[in-house]
Symmetry: C2
Subunit: 352 residues, 2 copies
């Protein structure tokens, strides 16, 4: 600071002691600054974070950048195994991961209802910071708006992720070939059924937890093991495995034969789905991914994912065929078949 | 598509004919696909857009990347001179612009209330597409969630922007020097007062329009004219010019002397503020920016901005001083002075 402006620009440390979020915290003035500098910034502290700047800035080498955006409106905010704070970070990491992108930075934008307890907000900010730290990714900034009591349901979070694409990869439905195998990283339906149970509207109880987590460690192991063999990846969130594979079948113009008995599924999820008349293949997951791998690499791919914590139950669950085009066919142990459609309607709203 | 999978993967064209948004449109299944492919994707059509992929991917050379996130909860959705759709694109372009970053891509994430008329959504998507097209920027994707009727107020939008930083620049409060001049691009308060009037809660009428627009053309002209002379930029949105300059004063440890008579201000805004007891310096703007420029470059900077459409009323409105440190001092034509504080409280909630 040459040129005569005062020597010590260090701002005084601000503490946020308000018990509830009020409209003024979203107005952009003093109260906003106290919220951001007194609560959000200290929890997200890292080198990239510029809490009051208009943008976060970071260098990249020449590369392909992947960007992703996700809104989170899950209800309730907290549930067995996680909360909206973990979910919003992990979900964004996972969208990058299945795009073959190493996560580089995350931004978090909040819409808060006036009257929200600060303790609730703090707990979710802590959950975001912890999930980002686990993944070794910085939260680089964001935005905070407050709406009147009743104009939103407690808090919504929208997360934005930027990653650098692994240059070894060529992913996409157009690369899928007949004979390729479908790999699933673990048991399905845990997240969706956990949220359903957390709402307490059903006379059901089960020892079940959301599977929310970053799948990047599993994806990285897969890519390192068979960099040429991975054709397509997707995380089967809303709409479940059935919807993700139907989208693949349609986009690739192929058929997916799904070996239903090979699909990892906890008995609690199976039981809840039977009682509720739901298909586990339509239930949302938050910590699983699907990959299509070349037939020659399938066994190596499976071993690579199984060797990573969380991937122990990975399985080869399907095969790419030419017919029936643009369809997913379930095959049971007795040789029976059924057509598996995308999710229709919304049996489990606000799952993420 | 070698390997035997069917030859023509082209998906059938989908039309979205539902009159209202329902929960199923956010469930991730067939209805979500219809909404995205039948309504959103055709309006946002561009090469980068991958409407159903998990991430958008684009190449960059070695550079510094700027990322920004903004939530928009403006009420009402439409107002004189614009709507939430233009606001969310322009606001994000402007955060990049004042970071010295040429906008590269934008993502748009929607939270919709079940029951929202499709016509309302379509109008806002069209406004987004038009604003992005005007700026020559692609909307690369996003996310859509639907919450129950009553769980949000019609629609909220969160926008993310990625830009490439102009390598000639070194912007930041730490570069500000005593004697530097403060440039303001045009009349203040138009947006905030327009929104206030659009709510119809006041017995006031005025021929006023929001100033929502991209400031990038003005910023680019400024940077081209005096690349070495620009020290700091900010768009004075929530909290207005007073808050932005107080943040600068605090971060730089300097004083800003603000020549109040030099500040461009429409008589309608001045009148409304007098009646309502508001300070125009606290009112939000959506199409203006502030820049601190070196004294030697100030006149050239002013001419460059004035030469761009929308910048005709730009003015040099302040000077950087060393004392009183971390404060903004207003100076009137009669030589009187007053301390100008940041915004306190929220006189105009949900302005953007």
């Amino acid at each position: 600071m040459s040129g005569g402006v005062v020597a010590d620009p260090a701002p005084p440390r601000i503490r946020f002691t308000d018990e509830r979020i009020e409209m003024a915290h979203g107005a952009g003035g003093k109260a906003s600054r106290r919220l951001v500098e007194g609560l959000i910034a200290p929890l997200f502290a890292n080198e990239t974070l510029a809490p009051l700047a208009d943008a976060a800035i970071f260098p990249v080498a020449a590369c392909r950048i992947a960007t992703t955006a996700d809104a989170f409106v899950v209800k309730p905010l907290r549930f067995a195994g996680g909360s909206i704070g973990e979910l919003c970070i992990n979900g964004t990491l996972n969208d990058l991961a299945v795009s073959g992108a190493c996560p580089r930075t995350i931004m978090v934008s909040l819409i808060l209802e006036a009257g929200l307890e600060t303790a609730t907000l703090r707990a979710e900010l802590e959950a975001m910071a912890a999930a980002a730290a686990r993944a070794g990714v910085a939260i680089a900034g964001g935005d905070t708006k407050v709406v009147e009591h009743g104009a939103c349901d407690r808090m919504f979070v929208t997360t934005f992720g930027v990653g650098v694409v692994d240059e070894r990869l060529r992913l996409g439905a157009q690369h899928v070939r007949k004979g390729d195998r479908v790999l699933l990283s673990g048991p399905i339906g845990d997240h969706g059924i956990t949220i359903l149970l957390a709402r307490g509207e059903l006379e059901l109880e089960a020892d079940l937890r959301s599977d929310t987590r970053s799948v990047w460690p599993m994806v990285r192991a897969l890519l390192d093991a068979v960099p040429d063999g991975v054709r397509w990846m997707r995380d089967p969130t809303r709409g479940g495995v059935a919807t993700a594979l139907n989208e693949l079948a349609r986009d690739a113009g192929c058929a997916i034969a799904l070996h239903e008995d090979a699909i990892p599924l906890r008995s609690e999820v199976r039981g809840a789905c039977e009682i509720l008349g739901l298909d586990p293949l339509h239930i949302a997951n938050e910590g699983q991914f699907l990959a299509v791998v070349a037939e020659r690499d399938a066994q190596r791919a499976l071993e690579a994912v199984r060797a990573v914590a969380g991937g122990e139950d990975a399985a080869l669950v399907g095969t790419v065929q030419s017919e029936p085009a643009r369809a997913v066919v379930g095959i049971t142990g007795y040789g029976g078949t059924r057509m598996i459609d995308m999710l229709v309607g919304d049996p489990l709203p606000r799952i993420c």
